[in-house]
Structures are given as C-alpha cells and as structure tokens.
Amino acid sequence: MSAVIDDKTRNRALINEVLATYPEKAGKKRAKHLNVYEEGKPDCGVKSNIKSLPGVMTIRGCAYAGSKGVVWGPIKDMVHVSHGPVGCGQYSWATRRNYANGTAGVDSFAALQVTSDFQEKDIVFGGDKKLDKLIDEIKTVFPLAKGVSVQSECPIGLIGDDIEAVAKKKHKETGLSVVPVRCEGFRGVSQSLGHHIANDAIRDWVFDKADYEAPFESTSYDVVLMADYNIGGDAWASRILLEEMGLRVIGQGTGDATLKEIEMMPRAKVLLLHCYRSMNYIARHVEEKYGVPWMEYNFFGPTKIAESLRKIAALFDDTIKANAEKVIAKHEQLCADVIAKYKPRLEGKKVMLYVGGLRPRHVIGAYEDLGMDVVGTGYEFGHGDDYQRTTGYIKDGTLIYDDASGFELEKFAEKIRPDLIGSGVKEKYIFQKMGIPFRQMHSWDYSGPYHGYDGFAIFARDMDMAINSPVWSLTKAPWKK
C-alpha cells in the first residue's frame, strides 16, 4: 500500500515540476490535462478534446489524418483523393499499414497516393473544375474502382470550393459513388473531429444512397466487424475468431473493406466495434435509424479476448454461446504456452503508454496477462467518455496525461524510468536515445497483428524483444563510471 502512496506522491510532484516550466497561462491550461488516478473515481480527472497549446510539441495530427488516414483511406475499392497540395497525401502514403488484399492500382487502391496536387492557380481560381476533370480521369485510369472519396485538405474550406456539388454531378455522370469529405486539417483540435466528419460522410453519402430494399439473405448470426483498420492484419486475426464461433461476418471495416462491406452495417444483427473513438458516431446512427445494436469488444490478450467472446456470444443463442466456450478452450494451450515462455521475462516490468483511439486502455489487459504493470497512460485525442472507460482498466495511482507533449513525456519518463514505452514513431527514437525500450503502438512497429489469439503470441514476443534486447546494456561506455 505504501508503494502506491509513494508513487502517487511522486507522480503529483512530477506533474507540478512539469507545469512549473510553462509560462503561467499555458501552465494553467495544461494543469487540467494531467492527473494521478484515484481509485473509485468515475473518470481519470482530466479535461480532454481541447485545443493543443501553440508552440508546444503536441503529438496530435489533424482532421484530414483522422478521415483519410484512419476511416476512409483503408476502404480498398475506392480511390481516395487527397484534395489540395501534395504534402498531406505524400506523408500519409501507405504508412499506416492497413493491410488489404487485392491488386494494387487495379482493384485495390489503398496503397496509392492520389492527389489533385494544387498549384497556385488552383488556390486563386478554385479547384472544383480540376476535381471534376480528375474524377473523369479516375474513371478511365482505374476502370475497376467502385468510387471516389474527396479528402479535403486545408485550402478547400478556405477558398470556398463546393466539392459537394461536384460530387453530386460526377456521381450522376459516372455512376461512381463520389463522397465529399470536409476534413480540412484546421477543423477541430485533433484527428478526432476528422473521424466524426468521416463517419457523417458514410451516413450521408453511403447509407443514404444505398438500396436497402434490395433483397438480401440475412441470417440471425450476421455481424459487421467495424472500426478495425487491419493494421498488420488485426481485423483478420479478429474475424477468424468470430467466424469460428459461428457468426457470419457480412462486413468488415474499414481495414480491408470494400464499399459494399461498409454498406452492410445496417444489415447486421449487431455491430461489433473495435475502436470506439473513431466510429462510435456511425454505430450510434445505425442503432438509431436501423435499430441495429452495437457493442464494443477488446481482443487484446487472453483475459480480455475471453471476456469479449462471452459478451458477444451472450447476444446470440446457445449454439453461439457454446461455440464461444469452444473457441476459448481451443486457444487455452497456446495462451498458456505464450505466458509460460514470456511471463518470466516480463513480470513486474513497468510500462508507460501514450497512444490514440482505444489503445491507451485496451492493451492494458494484454500487458497484465504477461505480468506487466501499466503505470502511466494517456490519449492523444481522447474525449471524456474515453477517460471514463479507462477507469476499469487502470490501477490506483496511475499517471494520466491527455494530449501530452514530447516535453512532458520526456520528463515523466526520466523520473519514472519505465521498462517499456508504447507510443508512436515521433516518440520512439527520443526514448530509445534515453536507453528506454520502446514499441510503436500505432503501427505495431511494422509487426503484428496484435489482435486475437494469434496476435497475442506476436505481442508477447515483441514486448520481450524490446525489453530484453542486449542493446540496452551497451548504452554506457565501459570506461565511464
């Protein structure tokens, strides 16, 4: 017990130390985003989804990143146009690792960088005509594409372009689904508004145009696996479990999704939601309008996987419930072997997380399955409901940081000296210089999948590799005291 009190005292002191460095006005603002979790409280005691401070190295991205990079980009049979100057599309070109089957540039377009490459004249005279022509060109160059999404970059909303009018016109002319998305990077405070805008575009430009009167042979086991972006194949490692328990996955999205699969959401008996943050909006809409319930699940680590499989099965009949038990039983040996192999090497290791979406909470169970302790966590672009949901995962005294800057994370890491940090590529090399083992928890550091039972084995191996690499014993020259 005293250890927890010590940690709490230290963490509070740490927060104060960090805040003291800021100018007064900025310090007051940041104070609301940092806290030490008190067990029993309904949330983590931090404010969130607020503008980042100017001049402070926020890790956050923008609305475009949330729409093109996260929600729309992975839909593989559509061409996603980064509409505006060349950069946004270039930097987000195939870096997120949403795996998709198909022939690139022929019937699968997720790994392409397609842009209107705005020049000065497009800014001055507007880009609508260029967009109009560009969609015709997509039709001839990519004849198998099922649609086009227009991912707005900053200038679009500033120069008064009417991409919605262009989209309507081109849909009529070409027969393609053309989806305008108003995800200009200056909108909102982070990626998060981009997710929301992208969700609304699915509602307005996919569901509202789809024909739900058309005949469809449904079964009582139909589900849509959604808000899994198939990073390193995550969605496949999840789908395999759902199918094994007898459910019929009629749509998967948006990782490795086709447009048709996205249209399937309203047809499902239940929507299974992996990343609540990025697609809860459309799940709520489908529930309201089509009466399809949705449920969050967590497929990180055997404890949470078993919990989630049972929770999902509870929505179905006894056959599915029995199947869920069989799936759990079938994988027990694998999990026991993985834990037997890696837990002795990882037990008691301290982890600090700083990620986006759902991971700051969802992966905690997987670490705990391996005997590891998450001592600090925070969200890049979380909202209040994320911090409420986090309370069920964390321990008393956990350090909480919302929209943390590089500066804050460095200070925290210097004092806490965790055995592992899980965050993004921008943080990776900073902490490795400090001699702290690190895994990228957005891209799975080019590994994965981490979801499902297959993924847990990879997760455990990767954490072991990071922490127990001999390289960390070489950071100090032996002749130095």
Binding site: G87, F118, W236
Partner: protein, 508 residues
Amino acid sequence: MAQSAEKVLDHSALFQTPEYKELFERKRAFEHTVPVDEVKKTCDWTKTWEYREINFSREALTINPAKACQPLGAVMAAAGFEGTLPYVHGSQGCVAYFRSHFNRHFKEPVSAVSDSMTEDAAVFGGLTNMVDGLANAYALYKPKMIAVSTTCMAEVIGDDLDAFIKTAKDKGSIPKDFPVPFAHTPSFVGSHVTGYDNMLKGCLTHFWEGKERKESTSININGGFDGYCVANTRELKRLLAEMDVEYTVLSDTSDVYDTPTNGEFNMFAGGTRYDDAVNALHAKGTIFMQGISAAKSAEYVEKVGQKAVSLHCPIGVAGTDAFLMAVSELTGKPIPASLELERGRLVDAIADSQAYLHGKKFALFGDPDMLLGLTGFLLELGAEPVHIVCTNSTKDFVEKMEKLLAASPFGQGAKLWPGKDLWHMRSLLATEPVDFLIGSSHGKYLERDIGTPLIRIGFPIFDRHHHHRFPIWGYQGGLNVLVKILDKIFDTLDASTVEGSPSFDLVR
C-alpha cells in the same frame, strides 16, 4: 492452428497459412469485388501502350508523385543550425507529418513545433497563435533560435510572418533580440526542395542582412535537401580538411539526424554554430551541392558579394572532380595527392566492374539535382539511362539534363519526363522495359508491379535501414553508389538462374 509460442508467426507468415487463405475466400463472398479473371485482364491491360496513352493524357490527376511540400524542406534547412527549433505557422497536422516523415527515413528523433491554428485562426488570422506559440516554445524548449515557416493554411489566409513575429516580440513573447528567421513556404508552389531553399535564404538573410562583408579566406558549403545529409556532410568535411580549407557548412544536419544512443536525449544536437553562420558572410563564396534546389539562396549569396557555385548532387568521378576543382578554384588551394589516390581507387573499381554495367538500361526518379548527379554517374559507367521522371522538375533542370544527356553517347536513348509521377513511370517500365530502376522506397510498388529491380537511392528510404549513414558524395560516396548498383545487378543475375540455368557462377 498455425500459431505457436515455440515458433511465433507474424504477418508475413501467418497470413499465408491455410486457415487465413480460407478466411480470405469466405470474405470475398461479401466483398462484391470484380471477378479474378477480370482483375487479371485489366491488370494486363494497364501494362499496354493503349493504357500508356490514356495514362499520359491525365491533366488533373496525380498518382504517386515523387515530391513533397515546401515546409518539409524548411524544417530540414532550419534544423541544421545550432539550437534551432523549426516552427511551422499553421495547422498542427502538417508538423506531425513532417516529423514522422523524417523519423521514418533517419530513424531519429525530429523536433519541430506548430502553432496549432484552427477554425478561429482561419477567420481572424493566426497572430494570437504566433504570440502564444513563440512564448511557449521559447519557455519550454529553450532554443537558441526559432525558424518559422508556414503551412498552406497560413498562406491561403495571407498571414504576414514578418509583422507577426515583430508583434510577438513587442508583446514580450520572446526577447527583442532573440533570433527568429522566417520564410513563407506555400505548399502549392514548388516542392520540398523549394521550401528548403526558401528557409535557407530566410536564415542567411537573418544572419547577414545589414552587416558589412569583409572577405576572408574561408568558403561556405551547403548540401541542400539531402536524405544522405548525415554522411554526405561528414564526407565533405573530410575532403575539405584534406585540402586544408577553412569552411563553414551552412545548415549542418550531420549531427542533428545522427545522435548516439547513450542514455540521454539531446533535443538540440549538432548544427552550424550561430556565430559561424553570421561570420559566413565574409566567405569568398558558397558552394551549393544541389544548385537547382538552391536557386534563391545562391542569388542572395551573390547579392551580398560572394561567389555562388552551383553543383548538382555530384556523384562519381567527374562529379567529385568538379567539386574538388570548384573548391580549389575558390580557395586557391591545390587538390592533394591523397585525394587523387582516392580518385584512382574509384576509377579502379569502375574498371573492375564495367563489364557488368556497360549498356545496362536504367529508369530513374527523384529530385532534380539528385537526377543530374545519378545520370552523370551512370553515363560514366557506360550504363544507359532511359526513363528519367522528375515530378518536381524546373526549366533549369530540363535544360541541364538535356545538355548532360546530349554530351554522352550513352545518353542518346534517354527521355526526360518533367512533371510526371510514378504512375506514369509504371507505364514507361511496362511498355519500354529497362534493366533496373533507381529511386526512393516508393519505387518498391513499381518493382512489385512490373518486376524491374529497384536500387534504393533517393529520399525517402523507409524500408531499408541506415543507408543515410553512408555518403553518396565524394569518391568514397561514388564507391558506395557503385556497390549498391552492382549488388543489385549480381543479385538479379543470380536470381535469374533459379530456374535451372547453369550460369550460377561462383566467380563474377
């Protein structure tokens, strides 16, 4: 179940197992994708001359361009000065992208801040963001200099950096005498190399404007936007030391993007010292290693009275000769025997290997200066450049490249494709095949689609490690490039014998 604790399969093996192959088949039933044979037919058609013509008639659509936007280059130029925090005025997402882009290439920390402009700034302008942003950045990171560039958002709404920075100083965000060079870097003009040039000029203007120049014996050197800046700059320093030349590297990123793992993170490692940058005004001249991408800076250098020497990413024997002779001419120092010896060794290496290089056909893509340097080297190897794609081409580049090609019998079969992208390149490779492709990691899709082996030289290199730690400039750099090319030639030759060919020679 294929997965086991004993032999953990990750994505590359896991998804090849029967259970996942079957899953993909089940999934296909719900995808409503095009039938496999139609995909195959269409794929074949995209490799025809007919498709090439359709592809080359594109006017509005850009697919897989080989260029990025201005502020990326501005961040690199700024990072090369000691204690400098690159600061980008505009939307925050851009800076996250610049940082991660460099992270993935250099595998290094990359520091840069944004002043996070949002909707209200779009309406009222970003002055408040600048005032708060400079104050926060100064207090938190304690830089010696903050170098400000812009995103397209700030450019579209017309924010005035000069006035904003002055106002921020008046309001006490930062001390009045705190150095804040700046450059407007609109993303819808030019490319990342333009942004580098603009920021370099902004910094030089800050260091030199209004100061009296007294010519010294020293020279300046600038590498330009260079993915190999770490090793190239060190190689240049070594060569200049061999020649006993006094020099200042303008924007020295060699120790910025190559820091040790020693238990400490140093946010402001390396960089050209402030005083050195100021005193660089007095140099006899400045050598720009990538002249096309430094046009404005070169103009400014001449304006202050220095000589500006523009080279073009000199790779190989003639390129390095030209560099050393330029240094010699500028400083009056002779080229020492030690460097002539290095030269002879590179020539020796080329002579040993020329039979494998002569007449090999190459396609290339990249930045203008890089393409000039690589093409020059290929020509002296007796190799034949065929397709040269430069998305961020300039008029000056086209003239220089055409002259370079015309001067060599090995350049007669080459065609330059200014402003084209890598989807154009796909058609070129499919209809007029070549032996090898040279370019950045983005070329790997072409290698997969068309089968042309990719030699990774350029920026960014995301999928191979540590290439930037080896120079491509100087005679040593030429040797590195030679070996990269040869290794791919030999690997390809060996791989071609897998189907039972006897030509699997032990000695080549």
